[in-house]
Symmetry: C2
Subunit: 335 residues, 2 copies
DNA sequence: GTGAAAGCGCTAACAA
DNA sequence: TTGTTAGCGCTTTCAC
């Protein structure tokens, strides 16, 4: 590895001269700067990032902790985060909590030792269910900034990026009501998460507000141990009166659609389906699923922006919660 | 941030004593060790990783560069890599090339300055098409080890993890032939990649070997600018004689299946479909797609193992190419 | 315009 | 058993 020292020796100048020259200091003569830069280029010199970071107490690295990268939502969020971070000259260190509190805690601990300047994090399911978020607040206490996205907690005081889950589900339900649907079922496997609760409430409120809707709310809360497909298929098979489905997680909408096709239900004539997802999750169905689009790319980008603002002291002392707009995208599974 | 210096001052001992105590050196008295450790724990001391890395010239960090994280194959590979790396006490810095050579090169450059101990990389499409791999060899020349996975190149001398693409496609085609299929079409959008070529050759060889197969090979090479769905749909619509499909990329198989259902083709009675993918890509179709499973998790794990072996000097001078077994998984779209 | 020296936080050879 | 010192590669203040 080529170091400043090597360059200095070759050029018979001091290390500090070389350093300054490479940083275009106006203390150094143009001539020297040129000579130094020429040799640096020739020898393919690259400043050792560890040394610079150590010296400056600044790593230009963000720790990103996501619950499950096999979930397309998080994959896309990571994509957006990486793109935006790179744009600003930051690297990302990626950790996966796999929905467990222990791994989340572990990653936080392991990176909060000078490895990263801050964190972008979506809370693990286990953490959210137990509502045990001390490990996260511990990091905050050490003055390491964190931006929470999607899955957040009121018990944590930091910057956050969310979508209007309540409003989005409300709007989707309202749409089905306007279509004249009489039996709308909500399907999901994320009732325990902050976002799941909000979406469920949005659905409930919309039904409540509908004066001419006679059947009560009906929720199929998918059980973990059992096949989601079997549960959804049996729902559709057993009850022919269902004419609307709101799927509040990533995949239930697609499953419902596949089962509806299999059982020859006319979609959307006799049955409307709206899923929750980013635009291009499981995009190859025919007909195409109507969805509440989460603008995942914007979520990731906003998270990075918020964190960098915090790191560069461009933010007020108070914490920001940024809400990314959702959009109801009507494709082929709604009228 | 708590440092050794803080601990040393509080305990009125030297910094090196503290350092040694924390590392359980037998130069230090049990008593001192205990006192040091107690205070360290109390103050939540964490050794600064940058300093340790700088000192030891060892970062315990792996740079992972993948072409496209929205492709489920790479998401899963990343998942496996993160899991395995974490298990061995390594972090991963993730970079996305987005299939471009420039970003791939950039990431390599930016991390080869002491940030990582080595790389795990799958070659970007642009790099593979142009067969311009000097930037990768440059890194190798600097004695930074690289493990290539999935998309590899003969022009790069390093450890590699691949699957038997030729054999897998051969086996899949053979299976359809044994089913008695008379008109088997290959669909794909990755003919330009190393893996795509190998898979295509496997298909061709299988047809060639089949004495009683009268129609020639037929390949639908999906054009980039146009909709894959439209191209596949028109194939199926225009030619009713097609009774077998081998899809060599991640998603074409699912698209073909959806279109077949839409056009009321009996699957698998009148049309067999085999896709290429990991087990749980787009898993919610009904019927379920038969696939060549790539054992993506094993690919990721093997990549980490190979790299760590190299880093820890446990490997011979020569380079290893590890081939991960594929498996033809027959689900519902084959007889 | 250039260089010496201190120091970021840590490890490790050597001295006491 | 403990402490001193040098040094990883870099930046930056201060002196020349």
């Amino acid at each position: 590895m080529v170091t400043l020292k090597h360059l200095a020796e070759q050029l018979s100048v001091s290390i500090s001269t070389v350093s300054k020259a490479l940083n275009n200091s106006d203390e150094i003569s143009p001539d020297t700067i040129e000579r130094v830069k020429a040799l640096a280029k020739h020898l393919n010199y690259k400043p050792n990032k560890l040394a610079v970071s150590l010296k400056k107490s600044k790593t230009f690295t963000i720790g990103v902790i996501v619950p499950n990268i096999l979930n397309h939502f998080f994959a896309k969020a990571l994509y957006a985060i990486e793109m935006e971070a790179t744009k600003h000259g930051y690297n990302i260190i990626t950790c996966l909590s796999n929905e467990t509190r222990s791994k989340e805690d572990n990653s936080l601990q392991l990176l909060s030792n000078g490895s990263v300047d801050g964190f972008i994090l979506s809370i693990a399911e286990e953490t959210q269910i137990k509502d045990n978020i001390e490990h996260i607040n511990d990091i905050l206490k050490q003055n390491i900034p964190i931006v929470l996205f999607d899955r957040v907690s009121d018990l944590i005081a930091c910057d956050k990026v969310i979508i209007d889950d309540f409003g989005a589900a409300f709007e989707a339900t309202e749409y089905l009501l306007k279509e004249g649907r009489k039996h709308i079922v909500l399907i999901g496997d994320i009732e325990e998460l902050s976002v799941g609760k909000l979406r469920t409430n949005g659905y409930l409120k919309a039904l409540e507000d509908a004066s001419d809707y006679s059947s009560g709310p009906e929720i199929l809360s998918l059980k973990r141990g059992e096949s989601a497909e079997a549960q959804i298929e049996s729902l559709l098979r057993d009850d022919n009166s269902i004419d609307g489905i709101i799927a509040i997680d990533n995949v239930s909408g697609v499953i419902a659609l596949q089962k509806a096709i299999k059982h020859k239900r006319k979609v959307p004539k006799d049955l409307s389906i709206i899923g929750f997802s980013d635009e291009n999750v499981l995009q190859f169905t025919d007909p195409k699923l109507s969805t509440v689009s989460q603008h995942t790319f914007d979520i990731g980008r906003a998270s990075v922006e918020l964190l960098l603002a915090r790191l560069e002291d461009r933010t007020p002392k108070t914490h920001t919660t940024k809400t990314i707009k959702t959009k109801l995208i009507l494709r082929d599974t709604t009228l």
